[in-house]
Amino acid sequence: MLDRNVGMPGTNGHYPSTGFHLVVCVKAVPKPEEVRVNQETRTLDRGSARTEINPSDMHALEMALALRDRYGGRVSLLSMGPPLFVPYLQVGLAMGADGAYLLSDRAFGGADTLATSYTLAKGIERLAQQMGNCDLILCGEESSDGATGQVPAGIAEWLGLPQVTFVTKVSLATSANGDGVRIAGDGMVVAQPDRAIQAEAPSIQVHRELRGGHELLHVPLPALLSVATGANVPRFLDPARWTWAKKAEVTVWDAPAVAADPALIGAPGSATQVAGLEQGGRSERRRHQIHGTSTETARALAALIRGALSIERGQNEREVERR
């Protein structure tokens, strides 16, 4: 059953395939506050917007680097996008990642979350083949442009891996001798809790964010985690590493290189379609500007606030607008 080639050197010769292998999925996105809408054509103008590594993915990368620093192993970056993503992956290398891989093919374009998660899963499969295996895959909780947060769970499903989303902390679980790992608060009684989840495989303990709380989970490896935004403080890139990283090779894989099924990638592999674009901001607002000295402004605002939160509202609004 064991067909993982543990201990075999990686076929690309970058590094041997022993130790903890962490894969971080990253995406480069335009800074959302710099994207403008062309009001005449009603299209998005990204031309003036600077691009950055998706902020959420930076937390995933930081978590991977911290795990590697603590337990040893390798961190690989994986992204899907045009060749212009290469410099952003090099930034990740300068922060401390050990290798970078870009899935780039026109055929990947126009993908929704279904096709995107498939493509990234194929990339991870290819990485696992090359490196021996992937122990832990980390993604940002969501992208700042798409903001759906559905890709990480999709990747986990394609690969049949356990998943935990909105993770804030990770550590390797205590050894299989079972000291300290207990099932509690799970609503289920397990006669021998330690033995029940005593895995031969290594496992991790994970903190997951909930609304107004958290849960602590026991997860066997390999697994996929999406990291909660704000879970940590991403490190700065290492200037000494940058000298190397800016010229470092980023491996680019097209669809055939990862044996992607053409029917499952890009637009053909997408289940959803954009039926139309509409101008947002449906509710009509008054857009009335309040002028005056600071005292006048304070009085006007106080009147509006009192009015909005009580019944004399209409009158106060009329008064402010008359001024």
């Binding site: 059953m1 201990g7 959302p32 506050e33 994207v35 299209t43 998005l44 103008d45 337990y71 040893g72 979350t113 279904l114 998660s117 499969e125 969501e142 903001a147 759906t148 947060g149 890709v151 769970a153 499903e157 394609w158 690969l159 891996l161 356990p162 790992v181 608060g185 895995a199 290594p202 997951r208 107004g212 958290h214 989970l217 066997p220 909660a228 935004t229 704000g230 289940a271 959803t272 379609q273 954009v274 674009l277 509409e278 101008q279 947002g280 901001g281 449906r282 509710s283 009335h288 500007q289 600071s294 005292t295 402004t297 605002l301 106080a302 509006l304 606030i305 909005a308 939160l309 402010v320």
Partner: protein, 362 residues
Amino acid sequence: MVQAEERKGMTTTTRLRSPALAGRSPYPPEEGRGLWVWLEQHDGVLEGVGRELLGKGRMLADALGVPLAAVLLGNRQHLAGLVEEALSLGADEVLLGMDPLLSRYTTEPYTAAMDQLVRAERPAILLLGATYDGRDLAGRLAVRLYTGLTADCTDLSIEPETGLLVGRVAGFGGGIEALIKCPVHRPQMATVRPGVFASPATSHQRPQAAVREIAIQLGAADRRVHVLERVVHEGIDLTRAPAVVVGGGGLRGDFHLIEDLATLIDAEVGATRVAVDQGWAPRERQIGQTGTMVRPRLAIACGVSGASQFTVGIDAAEMVIAINTDAEAPIFDVADYAVVDDLFKVLPPLLAELRQAERGAV
């Protein structure tokens, strides 16, 4: 460091293994029938978003002329106490998927259970709340079913010519919204944030409403992740706040004035994503597409630039006041009243004015 020797017992390789590899969803569009709403529950208590979705689901189902089903997953004990409540929310049918492995939410048993229900009953549409667990489940389930998922919709409608579900999604940047549909794959899945739809004021139990348990089979293989501990305290509910004072990047980390203003006018403090990402405010106070959608009588946006991902969150506010130094900030396009000035100059006299009035009233 994990040594290779320690991992000898591991028989898994990282290789694609999803049923979705078949590349098609479990039934053709013409066989999909009915609209389902997942009623998320924890320890026998419903999440509020389920009610909101059933209210909207009723309208959509009526527009389509199809039955509306409320779907509950959990253990027998938790669900037994919820059937009456679920029936009272206006569904034509309450469907139950029960198993001890569903006592607590974990991804794989819930995915397997919902997958089995969907394959057995073939709904045309499945709606889920975009809560932590709803998003966790939806993303996984959509791939298992090889179908389309429109996440974080700000509105849902039915396309009259085709009967397809259309989800409205805020695009990034200023003000473009995309309408997304899923023409061929089934079920058509969508998630909606809490607070997007109002909870129906009254709902009536349908005369013919029925409860039905659907058999599911879960095994140990579905349970790889174990909950060791779960701590949830009473969180704040921004969706019910009568007023919110929202701080953005312009606050530069100083929420004191905002908090004072909120206390004075009995409002909740809200924050933009930028402010939350900076650690200036806790995540549960984030307003917008990836936070909470609020519907207060008054929203006061302070130092908020007004990216559309944020402004959709205050779209349902009755009145919006915005204070920002940048006259060109898009927040002013969605404000009823605008003050173009430094909030650190505007707020202190306003607080003084409100305090004075308060004293005067006493």
